[in-house]
């Protein structure tokens, strides 16, 4: 068991995370029912209001709070109890983030911030919505500083010993987050807040979107890296195997840092005002991420095969059968891993310049990020929560809850297959995203989309049932499960694995290369945007 004070800090973050998940999931269910034409919203609640609530509470709040809580628990486990300053800074970060979350939620529910998850200009929210987002981001920075401080003190006290793999990955994840959020902080503080208050009349949309996507793509990796931490460090222990290679795991995280940030233009491939050559350059960098992704795939398969062979598995793929499919701590993340195969393929399609024209702004894209963040990441986080919540609460994961967890995972996978599958297909037929239900005056093409939208609603309903089940399990594990000792699974490295090169922990080098790549990828196009700046746009509030 980690230090009780660290467990409380971690539990604080996880609590807000699951509350946000529940509210966001209600919004998601209503969205799918409206979008299929099944219901009409009462009490002047707007579809786009729900869309904003769903996106902000799930993509930003649920994920960020969960990740920070998980990282604190893992750091305390692998580097020892948090020192006083990092712990106090962590609580300060928690307070700021929670205040920001409550403020943002209030303004979304008041319909004063119906600007969708991307809060693209020229849609304009109340200034308080943007102030709330600043609190969430700055609070998360405090958490990053606190984790780096813990790491720094630990390194100094151990005379520069190689850091534990989990803690190294946590430091890297927060480094990626900090560098990425500089972009969103810049656009919110320098553009959105003065514009929404009325200090300036107009906003430069191209710059605001560019800064948003400078943040928006690495945000995906901020979600994914903690899932990878579970796969690399936790899963080997759960399945009775060992980490394939410490060096390979660290190298993959270095590559994610380098190649996940200077790539935002692949979200703006159809955006005017950015030259094709710079878009092409960033697309090439985007595809570099395939390398650490396939390294991760190789590493995980190798862990499974090695562990399976030790258990006596025969044949080319016999090891697949002997994996602990009945253990939800493995089963949920494993389903996330398997779903990541089509999710990754979809990502490569999205980032390909020509193919992007087939799917841009269609429901395909919505289907894609429901496979990445809402399946791969979410299922891994659920799998983590099933052992982390009782571990932090001093309780145990009972066989009954384990069974319910497996049912919950199956429900989630089936629900997502319906919803995301239908989104992908109808997206290829041209159905747009970010729109409420309409048949476009009974246009034949739009009428063809209706059955797929019904499938989305069926999937959304199954997913909501899975969320209810998840809430019950998490509540039970936190407050009702029998008291006892749970294990925080941290794998050991294979004896035959090569030693980890010291250079992988040279932060100045990797952060320096990362900064250089960002400057190369963004300086000239950004200068062009300023030099040929458009007149700007006033704010619009449609709903």
């Amino acid at each position: 068991m980690i230090d009780k004070r660290d467990a409380q800090l971690s539990l604080g973050f996880l609590s807000v995370s699951f509350m946000a998940l529940f509210i966001g999931a209600i919004a998601g269910l209503l969205q799918t029912l409206v979008r299929s034409g099944t219901i009409e919203l009462p009490l002047s609640i707007g579809y786009y209001q729900l869309l904003t609530a769903h996106g902000v509470l799930l993509a930003l709040i649920f994920t960020t709070f969960f990740i920070v809580g998980f990282l604190y628990a893992g750091i305390s486990k692998t580097m020892g109890a948090l020192y006083d300053v990092p712990r106090r800074t962590g609580w300060l970060g928690f307070a700021m983030m929670t205040f920001g979350t409550i403020l943002a939620t209030i303004f979304i529910l008041l319909n004063k911030a119906t600007v969708l998850y991307t809060f693209y200009a020229p849609l304009q929210a109340s200034p308080w919505f943007y102030v709330a987002l600043v609190h969430v981001v700055v609070g998360s920075w405090l958490c990053a500083f606190s984790m780096w401080n813990q790491y720094y003190i630990w390194k100094r006290r151990t005379k520069n010993k190689l850091s534990p793999l989990f803690s190294y990955m946590a430091v890297m994840t927060m480094a990626l987050w900090f560098i990425a959020t500089l972009g969103v902080a810049a656009t919110v503080i320098l553009q959105f807040i003065p514009w929404s208050i009325g200090w300036v009349d107009k906003i430069d949309i191209l710059i605001s979107r560019t800064l948003f996507w400078y943040f928006g793509h690495p945000l995906v990796y901020f979600w994914l890296l903690p899932a990878y931490m579970c796969w690399y460090v936790v899963i080997p222990k759960i399945i009775g195997g060992k980490i394939f290679s410490d060096a390979l795991a660290r190298l993959s995280f270095v590559l994610f840092l380098l190649f996940s940030i200077p790539v935002g233009f692949h979200h703006q491939l159809l955006e005017p005002g950015i030259s094709h050559s710079w878009k092409f350059f960033q697309v090439v960098l985007t595809f570099m991420v395939i390398v650490p992704s396939l390294m991760t795939a190789f590493s995980m398969f190798a862990v499974f095969e090695t562990a399976g062979r030790k258990k006596g598995a025969k044949g080319l793929f016999g090891w697949f059968k002997v994996l602990p499919w009945k253990d939800v701590r493995f089963f949920a993340p494993m389903m996330g891993m398997l779903i990541f195969v089509p999710a990754g393929a979809g990502g490569i399609i999205n980032a390909s310049h020509q193919l992007n024209q087939v799917i841009h702004n269609t429901l395909w894209v919505t289907g894609h990020f429901h496979l990445t963040v809402a399946s791969t990441v979410a299922l891994t986080f659920f799998g983590i929560a099933y052992w982390l919540v009782p571990y932090l609460s001093g309780r145990t994961l009972t066989p009954q809850m384990n069974r319910l967890g497996i049912i919950q995972t199956i429900l989630w996978t089936v629900g997502m297959a319906f919803m995301s599958g239908a989104m992908h297909l109808v997206g290829l037929f041209g159905a747009p995203r970010r729109t409420a239900y309409t048949t476009y005056s009974d246009h034949p093409q739009a009428l063809d989309w209706v059955p797929y939208q019904a499938a989305m609603a069926i999937g959304g309903t199954i997913l909501f049932i899975a969320i209810l089940l998840l809430m019950y399990i998490i509540g039970y594990l936190a407050f009702k499960a029998p008291k006892g000792e749970m294990d925080f699974p941290v794998g050991e490295v294979e004896e035959e694995a090569a030693a980890t090169p010291v250079i992988l922990e040279n932060w100045k080098l990797w952060v320096g290369i990362c900064a250089a790549l960002i400057l190369i990828a963004y300086t000239i196009p950004f200068w062009h945007m300023i030099e040929h700046g458009p007149p700007g746009s006033p704010g619009y509030k449609f709903w």
Partner: protein
């Protein structure tokens, strides 16, 4: 003695490589899936 150790390490390495054939094929399968998915949407792009 160093020669014996080196031979042992070599044997372990060969054995491990043999053990990871399923891993290699699995990753190749993932790669193939990605290429086929990409090609399918590319054909759709060409047809439009």
């Amino acid at each position: 003695m160093p020669q014996l150790q080196s031979e042992y390490k070599e044997k372990v390495k060969v054995k491990k490589e043999k053990e990871l054939l399923g891993t290699l094929l699995s990753v190749m399968g993932v790669g193939l899936f990605i290429v086929l998915s990409w090609a399918a949407v590319y054909l759709l792009y060409l047809s439009r």
